[in-house]
């Protein structure tokens, strides 16, 4: 079975589908295109499940590796997955079909272009998680800017132009330094192949500066405080499906990048900057939680909560403990599902009321009981209630943090409380209370399609909340191997220093 280039297939199928849609005409009012793209993305999802099923948990090396010459004697097209990346691939293929399904009347014009953009985006995102060559990684990482820029800019809200530009230029600026670093790594190590670089390592004296260059890119993408300001704008203006992709997958590219490249390639650099990352993460957790409390726009509130949650992720990654890293990966997957659903939920009532202002709502439980139940599940998931995936992620991260630094862990725990505060308060203001606004009385509860989408998202969130084994098993060996490698590198460095 190893002969089928399954990863390349995963990367190519959506693009091929996009091309097909681009060059065909839809009959009967655009719907056929939507179903074609759902069909394509479901095929991709099945492929990725098959990949996960075939994946060998007990092995930490890269699997399903494909290595082809791309630029002679220079860069190879190399893709492969290990326990860490495979989960993100599955997450991407899982979210995309739901994302396409959720596209409805909100995107009236140019549905075809929208579907093409989303499918190409899927290809690029899968590419990011699979690539095992720095240059290929950069190609996918940056290529994603083009469709996302168009998604925000064409189908976004009133301030879409500003947000699209901000998103694009912020991310581009961050990534440019990474490109310099990638090229420099090529010249000092003679290869840009990640697997080989893991083996030979990178000279210690360059690691700090290279780490910073990569950090500049990932910090913007994560986003970390103080370069997070593009995210609320982008989220608020993007159409629902765009916000979902952005929150669920795009932000995870950076977290993944931290694990794969910052820690994997520059252990000494990472070790040197641990406290720096801690401080930024803590500020992100506490400060953006407080900012989230004060938001009047629902999408903005969830966007700020994303920044806070990603703060937990970066904190967990740099604890460099088994629990912390696993927790971070878990938190990313969980946040991918939960924030995606929250954006979809906001999308549901926005579509009916054309407003996201929290003040305009209140007491909708009376008219939308089903909606209120589902929103409840995900609100609790977002604040990390035991029994949801959110809890396991945060719990593991805090465990890892306690192991490493008591003070950091205590401050981070405060973030959990603040998280509960803003989420519950949001829920209270929107769902409970008296139904004052007259317009709300005409609200229709969830349609069948919406129930299906939201339930499909609720299932993994609850299932893995009660039974995290499958996810943890998948990442365990890879993570422990990464940490061993990290510690071994540090020991050698310390020994040399003495």
């Amino acid at each position: 079975m190893m002969n089928i280039p399954i990863l390349s297939l995963l990367i190519c199928v959506p693009t091929v589908g996009a091309l097909f849609i681009l060059f065909t005409k839809s009959t009967e009012k655009y719907n056929s295109h939507k179903y074609i793209s759902v069909f394509i993305s479901i095929i991709n999802f099945i492929l990725s499940i098959y990949l996960w099923y075939k994946f060998d948990n007990s092995n930490s090396s890269f699997q399903f590796v494909e290595n082809r010459e791309w630029i002679y004697g220079f860069i190879n097209y190399k893709v492969g997955v290990d326990g860490i990346s495979i989960l993100f691939v599955v997450l991407t293929t899982f979210i995309t079909p739901l994302c396409i399904l959720s596209v409805n009347s909100t995107i009236k014009n140019r549905l075809k272009d929208f579907l093409v953009a989303i499918l190409i985006m899927e290809s690029l995102m899968i590419g990011v998680f699979c690539s095992l060559d720095l240059v290929i990684f950069y190609l996918f990482f940056e290529g994603g800017l083009i469709p996302m820029f168009l998604i925000i800019g064409i189908w976004g809200g009133t301030r879409r132009v500003y947000s699209a530009f901000k998103f694009f230029l912020y991310t581009l600026l961050g990534s440019v330094l990474m490109l310099v670093a990638i090229i420099y790594i090529y010249w000092i190590s003679g290869t840009s192949d990640v697997e080989k670089l893991y083996e030979i390592g990178i000279d210690a004296k360059y690691q700090k500066i290279l780490w910073l260059a990569f950090f500049s890119s990932f910090a913007v993408k994560t986003p970390m405080w103080p370069v997070h300001t593009w995210l609320p704008d982008a989220h608020v203006e993007a159409p629902t499906a765009g916000s979902v992709l952005l929150a669920a997958i795009l932000l995870k590219m950076a977290g993944y990048g931290f694990i794969r490249f910052s820690i994997g390639l520059f252990p000494i650099g990472s070790d040197y900057f641990v406290s720096f990352v801690y401080v930024l993460s803590l500020i992100a957790i506490i400060y953006t939680s407080l900012v989230a409390l004060m938001q009047e726009d629902m999408k903005k509130l969830i966007a700020y909560s994303s920044v806070a949650h990603m703060g937990f992720v970066t904190l967990g990654i740099f604890t460099m403990t088994q629990q912390g890293l696993e927790g971070s990966i878990f938190q990313m997957i969980s946040h991918g599902i939960i924030s995606a659903t929250l954006f979809l939920c906001v999308g549901v009532i926005y579509e009916r009321m054309q407003t996201r202002e929290i003040k305009r709502y209140g007491g909708i439980v009376e008219v939308m009981p089903k909606y209120s139940i589902i929103l409840m599940i995900f609100t609790l998931g977002a604040l990390g209630l035991p029994g949801t995936t959110g809890f396991i992620g945060e719990f593991l991260i805090l465990m890892g943090a306690f192991k490493d630094n008591f003070l950091v862990a205590v401050i981070a725990s405060l973030g959990v409380i603040l998280g509960a505060a803003y989420m519950l308060w949001l829920y209270k203001r929107v769902v409970f209370g008296e139904l004052i606004n007259e317009d709300l009385k005409n609200l229709v509860d969830l349609k069948k399609s919406e129930v299906i989408i939201l339930t499909l998202l609720a299932i993994p969130s609850l299932y893995f909340g009660f039974y995290p084994e499958p996810l943890i098993n998948t990442v365990e060996v890879s993570v422990s191997d990464l940490i061993d490698n990290y510690n071994a590198n540090l020991e050698i460095y310390m020994a040399n220093k003495k």
Binding site: R110, D113, I154, V161, A164, F165, L179, V180, Y184, W187
Partner: protein, 472 residues
Amino acid sequence: MIIDIYYVIPEIFISLSLMFLLLFGVFKKNSSSTVYSLSILILIISIPLILNVPSTAELLIFNESYKIDYLSNFIKILIVISTLFVLLTSSQYLKSIKIYNVEYPILILSSILGMMVMVSSNDLIVFYIGLELQSLALYVLASFNRDNVLSSESGLKYFVLSALSSGLLLYGCSLVYGFSSSTNFSQISLNYGVSTQGIIFGMVFILVGLAFKISAVPFHMWAPDVYQGSPTSVTLFFAILPKIAALTVFIRFLYTPFINLIDQWQTIIIFLSIASMLFGAVAAIGQKNLKRLIAYSSISHMGYALAGLTTGTNEGIQSSVSYISIYLVMNLAFFSCIFMLKREDKYYESIDDLSGLSKNHPLLSFSLLIVLFSLAGIPPLAGFFAKFYVFMAVIEQSMFFLAIVGLLATVVAAFYYLRIIKVIYFDNEVEKYDTNHSIGLKLSLIIATILILTYFIYPNSLIDFVSKIDLV
């Protein structure tokens, strides 16, 4: 001598057919479209003629004043092919604005004849003759739409400023000759020995003259006005061909007579490169006219091409040549799009005219989208690889300052490309444009867009050719 002639058959062929066309045009009335088609045919025939010239080893002919090597042949092919596409794209435009004259293709042919002499020259005098031949034709071309004030103005401006730069160049040449007692490139580097002051003086003048030809900052002032005023087809020619030729001459000068002065010229080229990249990026932001904008954008692109030359290595030269090749394709595609913005023989060239283009012309705007992102250097489009190769070469030499400034300039430049995309995709539509374009125009747009879009699948296609350039 007879054998030497064998190696310059392409040049001889073009000059003979040029004279034939001139006579043909004079004696036969209303022959402009025949002449136009014939010149396309001449270009097509000259491709195999150039390929026929052996290029494996370096050949010095005509008393060592003319050099045939891989680089010269590669650039000649590039020149001929891009001229071919320039002619294919612009025929309809020329007809519409009523300058579809016999002289037009003839001037273009004589200009590229000059360029072919330039890129092969191995002697100051041969080089100067080639340069003047191409420039004189360009002066006329710039003011070809003589009833238009802007066009006449741009021709005159270009003439005056270019004459000034040629003067500087000639002064530099005479200084170099005076201090090395030879006009031959290979001899110059052998002759000047230890006392290099005089040579450096001459070299600076030569570099200034050349920088003027490729419109590198601070010798760029003519570019925006000339680009805007000239007929669009001539602007396209300006944006591509003189730059290829002048950049090759840059390579020739820097790596043959002045190779030993690398410490001196490196600083100059780095300055030219950084200044062009930054100035081009910043100055383009405020532009409203597409042709003016592309003038500034080409200034900044020349900065990147020069960045490759600063390295003093083969990789650097190769990266510059591949940069200019990709740049040529992108410009061709961009101008093809501009040629398509017309309503009933009136052509539009302001950014606002693109407003909401995507709603009425989805495919045209898709090509523009690809071209603009590629010009901005966003992966996985061809423009990214152009920059990537250059920065590979630059970082190999540990010139981080140049690399970082260059890449930051791409972020600034991305802003104005994005602004055009914003106008195309996010704004409200204006009236529809005509869709009855000539086949040549459609064909070149399609070919260029596909090349840009699919370059990443097989990047070796260009590298295979470029990597054979071996000068150092």
